[in-house]
Amino acid sequence: MLRRILAILAGRLVAFLCRCLKKGGTSLPGFLALKLDPDLIEGLIAGYRKVIIVTGTNGKTTTTNLLASILRASGLRVVSNSEGANMPAGVATALLGQRGEVAVLEVDEGSLALVTGQVQADVVVVTNLLRDQLDRYHELEQLAEAIKIALAHTPDAALVLNADDSLVTSLGDGRSTVRYFGLARTPWSQETTREVLEGHICPHCHQPLGFKFYHYSHLGDYFCPRCSYRRPRAEYEGRGLQLKPGGTDFNLVHPGGALFLHTPMPGIYNVYNILAAAGTALYLGVEPATIVRVVASFLPGQGRAEAFNLRDRRITLMLVKNPTGMGVALRTLATGRQKMAFLLAINDLAADGRDVSWLWDADLTPLLAIPGNPIICAGLRAGDMAICLKYQGIKEADLEVIPDPAASIECLLAKPVKEALILCTYTNLAVYRRLLQHRGARSEVTPGTSLPGVS
């Protein structure tokens, strides 16, 4: 007990010092406190009415923040690791910061077992399982297996799973309470795919799955031609999707009726984030009107398609970390635009993934669509990015390799364009955000709060 009190006091002291020194501190306090008391999370979570864990490859931070916002708007005191620090240290830091009734915790898919070993979650949400940082997580089937083992620690938790992802769906096998969310066919659904396929093997009989259509990557309406395995019926289903310049409209059909939702967030991947968060909120009994209201005003966090205004330019900053995320980001933010400048800042530090082979799996078609757009490659792996683009068909005259972040931003700002897109791997995100702000760029999302720390 003394150990725990010491750990809590030490953690809070470090958090206080971090605030004084204006250093993010989204992980360090929890990291040190966990050193003193490895079971700290279990102690801190006791007394919460509900604990919700959000995991998966893409969309964790947006789903977590949206769900926390919805629950807050319904009058609950919510604690959440809102800034994407999703390893146990980040979770502990958030719980050290304040007490609440409900915890909404984003947990890295690789550290899920560490958290479920200490926390009896009421709900676990799994967004998707995509090819990501293979040097850390290895193959997708192994990751799905690891998540299954982690979920066995919380046998009573309800699962909210993506019906359109066969790997995620298979996590529901043998569980007592499972709710699925999914997206019905849209005008953008495709019957074939150009993308590298993952999760296209039947989890039961290990034969290749058939697809009626794909939304993106391996997400879509799948079936096994041999056994009865197929996409389950989604209790929370997005229908009538309309993608517009100012956002997205769709109906969320659920067992109790239907909600008409409007979101200012772009892209089909955000529809999935909303389906996951709104579906979970409906499952927890939140009033539909609250969900509609929060979704209509919610904007994603820093560096998640965050728009900046600088002089007469609009610059969008976007985190990319795997091939699907990169392809979808380009499709959402670069399609249909005319003249635009691009900056691709690729690092290979531990938090980015050491291996940059994934760049060659991304669908870069939207970059090729309008020849002559300037493209600057930056970061520790600027050369790898540039070579990839050269072989995909970008003229070398349109490519510049400027590894240094500050120099690359100066080069971008010298381009005669109104719109620019910066795609960053994780460790570049805070760097480029700061560089933009130092040059007077104003975020359309959040007035400078603390930055996500590298966890």
Binding site: L134, D135, H138, E139, L140, E141, Q142, V196, L197, E198, I201, H206, P208, P323, R354, D355, V356, S357, W358, L359, W360, D361, L380, G383, D384, A386, I387, C388, K390, Y391, Q392, E396, L399, V401
Partner: protein, 246 residues
Amino acid sequence: MKLHLGHLYPEFLNLYGDRGNVLILCRRAQWRGIQVEVTPISLGDKLVPGAYDLLFLGGGPDQEQGIASADLVAKGPWLKEAVEEGTALLAICGGYQLLGEYYRTASGETLPGVGLFAVYTEAGNKRLKGNIAIQMPELGSEHPVIGFENHSGRTFLKGSRPLGQVIYGDGNNGADGTEGARYRNAIGTYLHGPLLSKNPHLADYLLRLALRRRYGEVELSPLDDTLEMATNTAVYKRFLPTRGKW
């Protein structure tokens, strides 16, 4: 002049952007006015020896590799005949392991391979992963071949010669300093993903091996590889152990 490239199991064996190598080989041939035809070869497809100048085989996740391996073992005799006739071949990671004599799993089970390379593989407990550089004197270049490896299998040479010597990294097994295997014009290697992107000297070497059977010794006109070679040097130097591994 036309290059016939056979891409084995493109839908199953492409774990780390391996297909990038096919794109690189195509572009480097096309930029020199050589026509290219890429044929996907998959489950149940017959392989006609002599139809292809170059065969490519990537690595895959366990399940996909399992599906492909049963078919590949059945194709073994055709494949070996093609290589005996002089067809060039590049096999990466899982593809390389499948072309060896066998793979012994952690539980002691022995999975048969094609036996094209006189090598065998045993499961290891710790994954060998990270940046790697090897020396390949036959490329006639002062540049090393660099890449990234990530494998739990340990491969041992049982007669095949290695593709190269490890400068840093683990290579075949992390112990004997060898990387990959070589038999006639076939190459197997653990350097995965877009291996040829930072190694245009290796890409051109493969193209020359591939064209030799149909056209004899071919002189490839030089390309501007400034970007590729600058990146090769930068990455090579960054991970040289004397300068600190990371």
